[in-house]
Symmetry: C2
Subunit: 449 residues, 2 copies
């Protein structure tokens, strides 16, 4: 099938790049709320041209969501939901871009532009995979496709959960192809069958209305010292969280999941080098991956009290605060962790807790047909077995889909370690755009029977 | 003697206010380096007019220091060193001043202007105390006076120590009258026979070159957590410092010093209210004062790591730092405490220590003739016994004088709790300017025999 797919890709490549160029040209920055309607309208027309019935529906934040559907002519295949987002990160700092962020530019073997790796390139790759599927099956493939393309992903998808629940009839499918995975430096596709959950809180302590001259330190409370009392009890030396019950509901990895971790090929030493980490805690990639994938964390993301600027100032701080992200694994629920945290914190005094993010973890069933098809297609196109992670190390709103019984995973690969996601000079390899599209088409073909 | 002094004050009050007005008019802000030479030159001429031989000498920072001396006509008296500073704090925020900061303005029973309380009012008060002493003794008093007036006090007196050592022959005296003390709300003079020392450091930990996505939290070091490990061991729950040897050299208060604390009259509850402290740790003023005066402290003045701005950011910080001021008491030496701290910190990993300030504590002998004269003069002028603190709660460069065997204390009172030191609308009571001048003249008279 590979040759046939490559031939079809050659025929559509010019159109594909033209559509990608147009999609990139929209400054659809969700943080600024710019050109969201325009971009959604463009996608509506674009998808219509490919045989989708499309509507643009406003979510509860009054932001446009593209909902599309394509009924198969053939019979017997699965219905696949595609999830993407048309919004992008702000392009700033502009001076660090080598070309206009909102213009698709080809340099060497790479394509540059804001969103080309996250997530507009992915949208176009999927769209042309459907087109290629049509070509090689003469439009007779039995694959139903539903598509949700939101415009709030880069600001944390605050409305997605409610939107999915409300429009479940238009979203219900056998499986969901979430955003794209990525490629290792050696060109091995990384697929992810889930995400960690997240509880992001700010815990703060106020001991007085304003900071005091530190000559009073012997007799007045110091908010920083009080916060440190609390934090020093929140984790033990090895990093284990000491909130009672924190690990109680954690589902330990299955043998199958541990096996999948063992099979992953990453250059751990190189990753540590790239991260600039000199003190490596784990001897093997397996040990590191096991923690990255399966361990919940309690990470201080920010700490502030008193004088944080330059130089010396002699005050006793009246306010101290810490920002913590807990990444959660299957079995843990953010609401429950928050309740346990509240009870724990209470023991140490009068602290406030401000909640920023609550996202449950989510996992796709590892043996599901959609995963099988994705892996087989990857072997065909890339000539290697992909790395299949039971979960990403990071977080996303996958649960909004998965909780409705729809398996969702990141099962194609478009970016690589040098793609500068969320950063200036975002880019993908031209050949990875092709390979992602071919792998998707091959996967769709496998699911269409 | 009091009536005679009051009579003399009335005769000179007009000139005194005129000179104060001129001195206030100099914008001698050491933080900006403005009008320091002009102000020093003015003081040189002014003091000459009162019979002082005066020179302006540059210190190692090339800033002008006024050095003056007045040889007594009479015999048998002491030689007294006066320490003052002609520099002031920046006047900003200007919009919060009710009148021009550099113009002496009388409103109600108060005089307003930058420096009127700290330290220009004090200079003029001392100058006219000398004038009054001359008047009532017909210039025959046996009191020798030396005077050092520097222009770097408000930026931490970085050159004072070396300057004093270099010009010791012009500074050597039986005792030193340091900057002024203050008055309680009930009008009781507060005298201070010393200062605490200070070691101000910033301790920081860098675990990587830049902050990382917190999805890597399970396998990479977090600078904030590492700093908390250290800080949680630096003090115990009650606030006792756990650096080995920290308390070893602390000289416990003598019975005489404890007695002097017992005799101090302050409204402790009101002080706590003014500080906005709801959770009062000490039942009595004595308990609080005992700690304020005699306890060394380890105070977190600032704490920063990772994302300290608004909102949520999911990073694992690569840098964490804490600013700590240690206030030291007699027996402790900042160099030794720093060495103990370095050894202590080393146990917890690779932390950097940046030293901002090192000032030793200093104390005047409580029974010295200059203190006795000051107390007797205060009883005469104020009609109450002054509060005599063995030490301030705060810090200053007193040791630069005391280490040469010269007793130095804050033995007159010019500001009150509403004087807004270092703040907009700095002011003193007109009557306190008079009472300070009379008390000084009475004290000089007592030391002149």
């Amino acid at each position: 099938m590979k040759q046939q797919l490559e031939q079809a890709y050659k025929e559509v490549e010019g159109d594909l790049l033209k559509d990608l160029r147009q999609l990139i040209s929209f400054e659809s920055v969700s943080a600024y709320g710019s050109q969201l309607d325009e971009c959604a309208s463009f996608l509506k027309e674009l998808l219509r041209g490919f045989g989708f019935s499309v509507e643009v529906v406003k979510n509860k934040a009054n932001k446009p969501v593209v909902l599309a559907e394509r009924i198969p002519r053939g019979n017997g295949g699965a219905t696949l939901l595609l999830y993407n987002h048309y919004d992008v990160q702000p392009p700033e700092p502009l001076e660090e871009w080598s070309s206009n962020p909102f213009e698709l530019v080809e340099r060497g073997d790479r394509l540059f532009g804001r969103g080309v790796a996250d997530d507009k390139g992915d949208i176009i790759s999927r769209l042309y995979a459907v087109e290629i599927l049509d070509k090689i099956t003469s439009g007779e493939a039995g694959l139903g496709i539903k598509w949700i393309i939101e415009g709030e992903e880069e600001v944390g998808s605050p409305s997605l959960d409610a939107f999915v629940a409300e429009h479940l009839d238009k979203i219900r499918a056998d499986a969901c192809l979430w955003e794209a995975g990525d490629l290792t430096e050696q060109g091995i596709p990384n697929f992810y069958l889930g995400v960690k959950g997240m509880l992001y809180v700010e815990i703060s302590r106020r001991t007085a209305d304003y900071d005091k001259h530190s000559m009073y330190a012997p007799i007045i409370p110091n908010a920083a010292w009080e916060l440190i009392q609390l934090l020093s009890r929140l984790r033990d030396k090895r990093g284990r969280v000491r909130i009672p019950g924190f690990y109680k509901r954690v589902k330990p990895p299955t043998r199958e999941e541990l096996k999948s971790i063992r099979e992953i090929r990453i250059d751990y030493k190189r990753l540590m080098q790239q991260l600039g980490i000199r003190e490596v805690r784990h001897k093997t990639a397996y040990q590191a991956l096991r923690e990255l994938v399966f361990e919940p964390t309690c990470n201080i993301a920010g700490l502030a009290s008193g004088h944080v600027g330059k130089g010396a100032k002699t005050i006793t701080p009246s306010l101290a605060s810490v920002k913590i992200d807990f990444r959660l694994v299957p079995g843990q629920r953010p609401e429950e962790v928050l309740e346990s945290l509240r009870r724990f914190v209470k023991r140490f005094g009068d602290f406030d807790i401000n909640v920023y993010t609550m996202l449950p973890p989510a996992r796709c069933r590892p043996g599901s047909p959609v995963v099988k098809a994705a892996v087989e297609a990857a072997v065909e196109i890339y000539g290697v077995k992909p790395n299949v992670f039971p979960s990403m190390y990071g977080t996303g709103p996958l649960a909004s889909i998965v909780k409705h019984g729809i398996d969702a995973g990141m099962l194609n690969s478009i970016s690589n370690p040098e793609s500068n996601l969320h950063a200036p000079n975002e880019n993908i390899m031209k050949k990875d755009l092709m390979r992602s599209t071919l792998q998707l088409a091959s996967m769709f073909r496998r699911l269409a029977t």
